[in-house]
């Protein structure tokens, strides 16, 4: 035990240092050799360590400056910030047309959702983002969180569809933009995750029938491209349904996505399950824990935290893959952007469009990535070996 822990917390730092020095605590006396560095030292070590390094640094620096300056000229200096029509932008061909984005961004974010009802998808998007953010805090991980999501989904459902409380009904064919991307990815992944856990556990089951079922499902779904699964869901499935029965296209895409994501996530989770030492199972067995308790309290908590990096990797991949629904004519963020490019009044601003869409996707994906890093650190803080 270090002396730090035995000292009362109320002591001033100097007193603590003195006490440590008096007690002969080595960390108080011997500083590590060499200074802490500083930017100049860092640069000499990492950028100009040898002649070859220096040449590479200078060359790459020049390329970066050239490209960066070109982008800056296009995006800032020569850009058209305000314009009533596209002609003003077209006259200034060397610069970006941000006026176009001001005009078209709402369409990209909402798609063809009725103009005067756009406050509804706005609330839904904000609600989903707020729920995602509040789910990030580990202290929130209890039944209240699950309840919050159920209520949140119900509210989103009512707002998006309408038809009650005096809200006009809006069919899914008119939905579009960011809320579609958010709903598709959040709902599909939320549905896929528990399914994936069951599939992963089933694949390791001793019961041959369950194991075969899980292996069959995973291999079948993994073995086909997502696009073909989406087309099957949207074109083939209705052929097999009895006459008069229709399932909403959006819902079918949602189910196809969930199944696809579940198969991939299951394999990720199985990797984590395999990494848990046999001794953990035996210790749980020896205490008389049932299979359910053992899995829920001992195995899964350890397995899932081991696979956070590949899990988030898969999440990010699927978030972006939702853009594939354009194949079956659903207006997600990317599809909405593409039709904005084709608007005759503002034709020809693809650069600005894709830059904007990339920025929106990047904000979500980068947040996920940062959060996973935080979560890993936070979970490992307590029991690092």
């Amino acid at each position: 035990m270090s002396i730090d822990q035995t000292l009362p917390g109320s002591l001033a730092p100097e007193d603590k240092a003195n006490l440590q020095a008096a007690a002969g605590a080595p960390e108080a006396i011997v500083a590590p050799p060499g200074g802490t560095g500083g930017p100049v030292l860092w640069m000499r070590k990492n950028l100009f360590g040898s002649l070859r390094d220096s040449i590479i640094t200078v060359l790459l620096g020049a390329v970066l400056l050239y490209v960066g300056w070109g982008f800056f000229k296009w995006a800032v200096i020569g850009a058209t910030w305000t314009a009533q029509t596209a002609d003003a932008c077209r006259a200034n061909a060397g610069g970006a047309c941000w006026a176009y984005l001001v005009e078209k961004a709402p369409f990209m974010l909402y798609g063809t959702y009725p103009f005067e009802e756009r406050w509804r998808p706005t609330i839904v998007s904000l609600l989903i983002i707020a729920m995602l953010v509040s789910s990030c805090d580990r202290r929130m991980w209890n039944w209240r969180l699950a309840a919050m999501w159920v209520v949140g989904f119900a509210v989103s459902w009512i707002l998006m569809f309408g038809g009650v409380f005096g809200l006009p009904y809006v069919e899914t064919g008119l939905w579009g933009g960011l809320p579609v991307t958010l709903i598709l990815s959040v709902v599909a992944l939320a549905a896929a995750f528990p399914m994936a856990i069951l599939l992963a556990l089933g694949r390791r089951s001793n019961m041959p029938a369950i194991k075969a079922l899980c292996v069959g499902f995973i291999e079948l779904i993994r073995g086909v491209p997502l696009i073909s699964l989406l087309i099957m869901a949207s074109v083939m499935l209705p052929l097999f349904l009895p006459e008069g029965v229709t399932i909403d296209k959006f819902l079918r895409a949602l189910v196809a996505f969930s199944l696809f994501a579940a198969a991939y996530l299951a394999e990720v989770i199985r990797g984590g399950l395999q990494a848990i030492p046999k001794g953990q199972y035996e210790a749980a067995d020896a205490l008389g824990l049932s299979y359910r308790l053992k899995t829920q309290m001992i195995i899964l908590p350890q397995a899932l935290r081991l696979v956070i990096p590949p899990l988030v990797n898969t999440f990010i991949g699927f978030f972006k893959d939702t853009s594939l629904v354009y194949i079956i004519g659903i207006y997600d963020l990317l599809t909405a952007g593409e039709s904005a490019v084709k608007d005759p009044a503002w034709r020809g601003f693809a650069n600005e469009t894709y830059l904007f869409l990339a920025a929106v996707y990047f904000i979500f994906c980068f947040s996920m990535s940062r959060y996973s890093q935080y979560l890993e650190r936070d979970l490992n803080k307590s029991h690092r070996r």
């Binding site: 001992i298 029991h383 070996r385």
Partner: protein, 257 residues
């Protein structure tokens, strides 16, 4: 206190564990051959033998971490079968301590101890925590209750593992080489806890190479080799006059250095 008195007292006490003609194979390999062993309530049995002799396999059969193929194992009056409920019922009464501790690294020491009493025994949380703290005091590490296993030394972890098993208030304790993975200076702190437990009358089967422990604590010492029980005797007899050649060879190997 002489071994003779201990033995006489034990003859009167009920049978806690009985193995009758137990056989087990790993594929073609015969790990346990006609193992017969009776352990009475309050009896302490030390099992020794060369590695691969089936000692661990035998005690792991007692709480069915391993399945035997023929013969009967009766624990606390219940015969071990494939019935999951029966197995869980026996596991609740039989505590086990492993060579590698096998603490749950994602739970604090206190949570490691209270998990099974709360979820398996349905004990109220407060009561389970009081019991856990009492046991942590007994193994002399109450101040570590809120730490995680990874922050503890090997000896401390093994004492937590013993306390965790005791927290289920078991009637029988199985020890599978509890000191083999420890640094030498930590062996004593774990053995001290085990001796204390033995003195309180716990029924114990302990696989170990700590012959000092066997001498001072065991009622009977069992020597196993190639899946068979070669010899079983009270420690004084076992160490002074080993009957079989194999036992003599083994003892000369582990006691000579």
């Amino acid at each position: 206190m002489s071994t003779a008195t201990a033995a006489r007292n034990l003859d009167a006490s009920p049978v806690a564990i009985e193995l009758r003609n137990v056989n087990k194979w790993y594929g073609q390999f015969h790990v346990l051959t006609n193992v017969n062993l009776t352990v009475r309530k309050g009896e302490k049995v030390v099992v020794c033998g060369p590695s691969g002799s089936g000692k661990s396999t035998m005690i792991r059969c007692v709480n069915r971490l391993e399945e035997h193929q023929t013969g009967d194992i009766i624990v606390d009056g219940m015969t071990l079968t494939n019935d999951v409920k029966g197995v869980d019922a026996i596991r609740r009464e039989v505590g086990m301590v492993f060579q590698q501790f096998n603490l749950f690294p994602h739970l604090t020491v206190l949570e490691n101890l209270t998990l099974a009493p709360i979820w398996v025994r349905k004990m109220p949380k407060k009561e389970a925590e009081d019991l856990a703290m009492m046991l942590l005091k007994r193994v002399r590490i109450p101040e570590q209750a809120l730490k995680y296993p990874g922050q503890l030394s090997g000896g401390q972890q093994q004492r937590v593992a013993i306390a965790r098993a005791l927290c289920m208030r078991p009637k029988i304790m199985l020890f599978d080489e509890p000191t083999s993975a420890l640094d030498p200076e930590m062996v004593k702190e774990v053995l001290d806890v085990m001796i204390e437990l033995a003195n309180e009358g716990m029924t114990m089967i302990c696989v170990t190479h700590e012959m000092g422990f066997a001498r001072s604590v065991a009622d009977n010492v069992v020597f196993m080799d190639r899946g068979e029980i070669v010899e079983m005797a009270a420690p004084t007899e076992f160490f002074a006059n080993p009957k079989s050649e194999r036992t003599r060879l083994f003892l000369s190997q582990i006691l000579s250095h």
